[in-house]
Amino acid sequence: MTTTTPQVPTVRPPASGIGSRARKARKALTSPWASTLAIVIAVLWTVPTVGLLVTSFRPELDIRTSGWWTVFGDAFAGEGVFSLRNYETALYGSSTNMIEFFVNSFVVTLPAVFIPITIALLAAYGFAWIDFKGRDILFIAVFALQVVPIQITLVPLLSAYVDLGINGTFWTIWLSHSIFALPLAIFLLHNFMKDVPRSLVEAARVDGAGHVKIFFQVMMPLLTPAIAAFAIFQFLWVWNDLLVALVMGDLRTFPLTVRIAELAGSRGGDWHVLSAGAFISMVVPVIVFLALQRYFVRGMLAGAVKG
């Protein structure tokens, strides 16, 4: 970056926005240091994933005896062997049986996204548009609860579930994820709801609409992007979660993350199952992420980061 050729500050006609952009683009690309650095980072961020992806298609014996980078030479010589065999083993093999855990991931995630968002939407509306006593102090309390790390709640929650006799079921996992999502969800959705013009709400009220009607007919349509943004966060959070699943669940509810973490411990050298298994667990979040990236970025810029 230090070697950019200094541009001679000649008198130019007032630069338009587009003109200056074009100039800056040239700058970034002509600075060799900057470009090299960008390429190094981009490579470092891609190669490890590519390596494991290539590995997941190689025969078990090849994985053990040679590096994945050798396949490019082999493929060129017409010797490369690729198959979906590892995926088959990982999904249906009796010792791995990922398909079952895939179902669990799905069953865990859907309610754990839907339920907290619904509860948070109602609460956010209440805090934003219903003027009841103690509202402000309660909202500040909810806001402050974002500070609480979920670790501090896990042991008592688990013993409460045991006392109720519902431990190790999907219900406790749905409930736990819903609770943990609420402070952030309420805070974010509240901020979005506050931005809805007062005149819209007043107009509906003059027409005789009650709060329930305003909630469904005025707020919901305007909030779709905000809901989408938070839904993606919560989806990725729950699908990729290890801690809650591990603590609250048992063998019948464990999602993919737990299974793969377990394989990494017990069969750490079996890269043919591990690599395929890792990608089986990644495919859904990556698709969702790529499809809805727009909302994700918007949500992130609005502060939707779960700590």
């Binding site: 609460a123 008592p156 929650l157 411990g265 990236q293």
Partner: protein, 328 residues
């Protein structure tokens, strides 16, 4: 009743249970809204509680009450219930096993957020308005979508070790061999292993830093950069004297947010080494003490410790976030 609680091994049963859960929940919400909407001139507190009640009750029972209980438990011996005051905390700060954990945690918080923020910033600045901006950002951004377990497996494969003389299958060791070195058992050698595990975390978080910082870089008014350019500022000077000061609040928000995540992350260390070879951190030690050693008192103390460390970071973060919003 048992059918509703335990799904067993049957996938159809599980899916049915899921639909039933969603159905029950929708029905509950519908009843609440129906009741709230019923009276002609309802009291405000009644409507207010109708909308916020479920959330408040859940937070009270599921977050506030357990947190208070944990703070109390942290003063008790193991599971016996004897009050031992600050003994658990004293152990955490004196026993060598826990001192390693605390040291590692400090190392994580001091190193990982800064590295991730620095890389994200430099990358965001360099690819800003370049021809490949979208693709370049996408590459760094993608690790945010996958689980920390998945990311750990990707990197564990990079660090894979085979004895000397055998063909290497891990990329890092292969590079070492190509350069004429001896293959290393990376994850066993302290203190290097902690840093190698941090690499995974940085790999995930850099995308986050990049996205936020990129947005603030784009928000710098063009008159500022133009004026600087006319004054002959360019290249590194532009980055150091114009870009950095302009996005300072955003930088602090990114740093503190990543620091918060660092403190609570346990998946990566657990998948990479399970906390062995001197790599454990507080968030993982909490899990081990609470759910493997069954020492509820110690686990509670570690959780409270985590809480106490996180609070000032969050408070600082919120205050800076306010500043960022004011600037916007």
């Amino acid at each position: 009743m048992d059918w509703l609680l335990h799904a067993g091994d049957d996938p159809v049963h599980k899916l049915l249970l899921m639909l039933i859960a969603i159905g029950l929940f929708v029905a509950l919400m519908a009843i609440i809204l129906f009741v709230v909407d019923r009276p002609r001139n309802p009291a405000r507190w009644f409507v207010g509680f109708g909308f916020t009640g479920v959330a408040l009750l859940l937070l009270l029972a599921g977050l506030v009450y357990p947190a208070v209980l944990t703070i109390w438990t942290s003063f008790l011996r193991r599971n016996s219930g004897d009050f031992i005051g600050l003994d658990n905390y004293a152990r955490a700060f004196t026993e060598p096993q826990f001192l390693v954990v605390l040291g590692n945690t400090a190392l994580w918080v001091l190193v990982a957020p800064f590295v991730a923020t620095f890389l994200g910033l430099v990358y965001a600045y360099v690819v800003d308005r370049s021809r490949f901006e979208k693709l370049a950002k996408g590459l760094v951004f993608l690790p945010m979508a996958i689980s920390m377990v998945g990311a750990s497996i990707i990197w564990k494969f990079v660090y894979e070790f085979k004895p000397q003389g055998v063909e290497q299958t891990g990329l890092l060791n292969q590079f070492l061999v190509w350069l004429g070195g001896e293959p290393q058992q990376w994850l066993l050698s302290r203190p290097l292993n902690t840093f190698l595990i941090m690499v995974v975390f940085v790999w995930i978080q850099t995308g986050f830093a990049m996205t936020l910082l990129s947005a603030s870089i784009k928000a710098i008014p063009t008159d500022i950069t133009e004026a600087a350019r006319l004054d002959g500022v360019s290249g590194f000077g532009m980055f150091w004297r114009i870009t950095i000061p302009s996005i300072r609040p955003a930088l602090v928000v990114v740093l503190t947010t990543i620091a918060m995540t660092t403190l609570k992350t346990f998946d990566i260390v657990r998948t990479m080494t399970a906390g062995q070879f001197g790599t454990s951190i507080v968030a993982l030690e909490f899990y081990d003490q609470g759910f493997r050693q069954q020492d509820a008192g110690m686990a509670a103390a570690l959780a409270v410790l985590l809480f106490v460390i996180v609070v000032p970071v969050v408070v600082y973060n919120v205050r800076q976030q306010r500043k960022v919003e004011e600037i916007r």
